[in-house]
C-alpha cells in the first residue's frame, strides 16, 4: 500500500502557517460546536468564503475547514453535558448520559472523559481514513462515467434510507438540490437553463450563496422562534480528573463505537447524527446489564462521542476518493474544493497528494491540538455558552452577508441568499432536512455530466449503465439499501400487530 502521500501530507500540515491555521480552526470549531445555535455546517459555511477571499491555498483552506469540522464534534459535547441541549446533531446522544452526570456534580469528569473518547474516536477515524483512502481510490480509478452515474444513484439511495425520519422528504430534498444545480450555462450545449435572462445567474447559483442561505439565515429564524424555551446552565464543573476505573470501563465501548462511527461515516450521505445513535443503542444493548444507561453511565457518554468523531473522519473517505461526500459537512467541503476548480475523485490522491495528504495529516495533528484545547480550556468554552442570542445572532447574520459579499461583491447574491434562506426556513418548518439539498446540489452537475458522457460513449444506448460488474454491484447495493428499511419497518409493524392481537 502506498502511504507516501501521508508523509508528504505531514510535511504540509506541519508548516508553521498550516499549524496556526489548524489551531485557529480547532478553536473556532470547538466554539461553533459548543454553541447550541450553530453547528459545524454553519461554521464551515461562514468561514469558507472568508478563507477563499483571503487567498489561502486550497490545502490550507481544507485544513482550516477540517479542523472546524472535527472541533465542532468535540465542542458539541460541552453544551450537551452542561445544558442538556446538543451543540450539534452528532451530540444529541451525548446528552443522554452526560447531562445526568453533570446533574450529579460530575460535569468536569464527564467533560474530560468525553474529551478522551472524542480523541480516541478521532484518532481511530483518522487512521482508518489514512489506510482506507488509497485502497478505495485505487478501486475507483477504473470507474468510467457509467459507474460514476450509478455511484451517485447509490449515494442518494443510502441517503434516502438512512437520513431523516421520512425518506420521501429526504429524496425531495435531493431532487431540489439537483434542480438548483441545473441553473446556469450548460457547458456541453451552450444553452442557458433556468436563468430567467438574469446575467448574474448565468454561472449558476453560487455554492456559498446556497449554503449560507440554507443554513445560517434559516437557522437565525429558528433560533428566534425557539427562544425562551428554558435551559439551565450547570456552572459547577466539579473535579476534572477522571477515575481510572471509569476509563477502563469505557475503553471497550469507545473503541467499538469508533469503528461503528467510521463505517457509518464512510457510507455516502450519513453523518454523525446517524452514527452516534447507532453507537449508543449498540452500547446500551451490549453493556447495559444494570439499567444504568440514561442515568449517567460513563459508557453511554463515551459511545456517541467516540463515534461522532470517527464519523467525521470516515466521511472524508468517499469525499476524497470518489468525490461523493460522506456527510452534509463534507458536502460543503466538496463545494469548497470546487470553488478552487478542483474536482475531487479517484485521481485527486495522485494528482494533488498535498491536498489529500495534508488534510489527513492535519486530522492527526488536529486531534492532539483539540485534546490540548479541550481539556484545560473547557472552562472558557463553558462560559461562552452564556453569550446571549441577541448578541450572537446578529453576528451570524453579519458574517453571512460579508461572506457572500466577499466572494462576489454583488448585492444581488446577498438578496438571493436571503431568498434561499427564507425558503429554507419554510422547508425546515415542514420537516425537511437541509443536508440532502446540499448533497444534491454538489452532486448535480457531476451526475448529469457523467450520465451524458456515458450515453455519448454508447451512442445513446442506456444499457451501458448496466454493462460493467461494478455498475451492476452498485445498482444491487442501491436497491438493497432502499429496500432494507422497508423490510425492517414491515417486520416491526407485523410484530406490533401480533402483539396487540395477543
Amino acid at each position: 500500500m502506498n502511504m507516501e502521500y501521508l508523509w508528504q501530507g505531514f510535511g504540509v500540515a506541519l508548516t508553521m502557517q498550516n499549524l496556526l491555521i489548524g489551531l485557529a480552526g480547532c478553536f473556532i470549531g470547538t466554539l461553533v460546536g459548543a454553541l447550541p445555535a450553530i453547528g459545524p455546517i454553519n461554521g464551515i459555511a461562514l468561514l469558507l468564503p472568508i478563507a477563499y477571499s483571503m487567498g489561502l491555498p486550497p490545502e490550507s483552506t481544507m485544513i482550516l475547514l477540517a479542523a472546524i469540522y472535527c472541533g465542532a464534534e468535540y465542542g458539541g459535547r460541552i453544551s450537551s453535558i452542561l445544558l442538556n441541549v446538543p451543540g450539534d446533531a452528532g451530540a444529541v446522544m451525548t446528552a443522554l448520559d452526560g447531562y445526568p452526570m453533570a446533574r450529579q456534580g460530575r460535569a468536569g469528569e464527564a467533560l474530560t472523559l468525553s474529551g478522551l473518547a472524542s480523541f480516541a474516536g478521532g484518532m481511530i477515524g483518522a487512521t482508518g481514513l489514512a489506510l482506507f483512502a488509497p485502497v478505495l481510490a485505487g478501486l475507483a480509478i477504473g470507474f468510467g462515467p457509467a459507474e460514476y452515474f450509478v455511484l451517485m444513484v447509490f449515494a442518494f439511495a443510502t441517503l434516502g434510507s438512512m437520513v431523516g425520519s421520512n425518506p420521501v422528504k429526504t429524496l425531495i430534498g435531493c431532487v431540489l438540490g439537483l434542480m438548483l444545480a441545473t441553473v446556469g450555462l450548460d457547458a456541453t450545449s451552450g444553452a442557458y437553463r433556468f436563468t430567467f435572462d438574469e446575467p448574474e445567474l448565468s454561472d449558476g447559483i453560487e455554492f456559498v450563496v446556497l449554503v449560507i442561505g440554507l443554513f445560517s439565515i434559516s437557522e437565525a429564524l429558528l433560533i428566534l422562534e425557539h427562544q425562551g424555551r428554558g435551559v439551565t446552565v450547570i456552572r459547577k464543573l466539579g473535579r476534572m480528573m477522571v477515575r481510572m476505573s471509569d476509563v477502563t470501563k469505557s475503553t471497550g465501548t469507545a473503541l467499538r463505537s469508533a469503528c461503528i462511527g467510521f463505517v457509518v461515516g464512510v457510507l455516502p450521505g450519513t453523518g454523525a447524527s446517524v452514527s452516534s445513535a447507532i453507537a449508543y443503542t449498540t452500547a446500551k444493548r451490549i453493556s447495559d446489564t444494570e439499567g444504568t444507561f440514561g442515568k449517567g453511565d460513563v459508557r453511554g457518554l463515551a459511545a456517541p462521542e467516540a463515534s461522532n468523531n470517527a464519523t467525521a473522519c470516515g466521511a472524508f473517505v468517499p469525499m476524497l476518493t470518489l468525490g461523493v461526500p460522506g456527510s452534509g459537512t463534507t458536502a460543503v467541503m466538496l463545494g469548497a474544493l470546487m470553488l478552487y476548480n478542483i474536482q475531487p475523485g479517484p485521481m485527486l490522491l495522485t494528482e494533488r497528494p498535498e491536498i489529500v495528504g495534508g488534510l489527513v495529516a492535519s486530522l492527526f495533528v488536529g486531534n492532539f491540538l483539540l485534546l490540548l484545547l479541550n481539556l484545560p480550556l473547557v472552562n472558557i468554552f463553558a462560559r461562552i455558552l452564556t453569550v446571549p442570542n441577541w448578541l450572537l445572532v446578529p453576528g451570524i447574520l453579519v458574517l453571512s452577508i460579508i461572506g457572500v459579499y466577499s466572494t462576489h461583491a454583488s448585492v444581488f447574491s446577498i438578496f438571493l441568499m436571503l431568498g434561499i434562506g427564507f425558503v429554507g426556513w419554510l422547508l425546515r418548518k415542514a420537516g425537511f432536512d437541509m443536508a440532502p439539498i446540499i448533497l444534491g446540489f454538489v452532486l448535480g452537475r457531476v451526475m448529469e455530466v457523467n450520465l451524458r458522457n456515458a450515453l455519448a460513449i454508447s451512442g445513446g444506448d442506456p444499457s451501458i449503465l448496466f454493462e460493467s460488474d461494478i455498475s451492476r454491484i452498485l445498482w444491487g447495493l442501491a436497491v438493497l439499501v432502499a429496500v432494507f428499511p422497508l423490510v425492517l419497518s414491515w417486520r416491526a409493524r407485523r410484530r406490533n400487530v401480533r402483539m396487540t392481537a395477543e
Binding site: 472568508i50 428566534l224 446577498i414 420537516g431
Partner: protein, 153 residues
C-alpha cells in the same frame, strides 16, 4: 384532539406537497423548452431536467398521500417577530452599498437584537460593537473589501 397550532400539521405537509407538484410541472415545462443550437451529446440539455421533474412529481404525490408530521409554524406575535427578521435584512442589504457597511450593519444588528428582546440601550451598544468589530476584523485584519458608502466615501 385539538390542534394547538394555527395550521394543522398535515395541512402544512399537503400544501408543501402541492407546491412541489406545481414546481415539478413548471420545471418540467421550463426544462423541455430549453433552447439549444447544437447537441454534442445524444441526451442534450433537456433530458436531465425533465427526468428530475418527473421524479419530483412522483415524490410530491407520495408526499401528498402521506404528509406525515412537521414542526408547524408559530402564531401571533412570535410569527410577526420571526417574519420581521427577513424584512430587516432586506432593508439593510438594500442600504449596504449606498449607506455603507457601518451604517447598514449598525441598523441590522440593532434591529435584530431588539427582535430578540434586548433592551434598547444594550441593542445600541451591541450594534456599535458589531459595526466596529467586524469592520476591524474584515477591512483591517483580513483585508476583505467592504463598501464604505456614499457618506464616508
Amino acid at each position: 384532539m385539538f390542534e394547538t397550532e394555527n395550521i394543522p400539521h398535515k395541512t402544512i405537509g399537503r400544501i408543501a406537497a402541492i407546491v412541489f407538484i406545481a414546481l415539478a410541472v413548471a420545471y418540467g415545462i421550463g426544462g423541455s423548452a430549453i433552447d439549444y443550437s447544437f447537441a454534442s451529446d445524444p441526451l442534450g440539455p433537456r433530458v436531465f431536467p425533465v427526468a428530475l421533474s418527473v421524479v419530483l412529481g412522483v415524490l410530491g404525490v407520495l408526499y401528498l398521500i402521506r404528509p406525515g408530521t412537521s414542526e408547524g409554524f408559530p402564531s401571533g406575535r412570535l410569527l410577526l417577530r420571526v417574519l420581521a427578521v427577513p424584512a430587516v435584512l432586506v432593508v439593510c442589504v438594500a442600504l449596504f452599498e449606498p449607506a455603507g457597511f457601518a451604517i447598514s450593519i449598525f441598523l441590522l444588528t440593532l434591529a435584530v437584537a431588539m427582535l430578540f428582546g434586548a433592551p434598547l440601550k444594550w441593542a445600541v451598544a451591541g450594534g456599535i460593537g458589531h459595526a466596529i468589530l467586524w469592520w476591524f476584523v474584515f477591512d483591517w485584519l483580513l483585508e476583505v473589501y467592504l463598501p464604505v458608502g456614499l457618506i464616508f466615501g
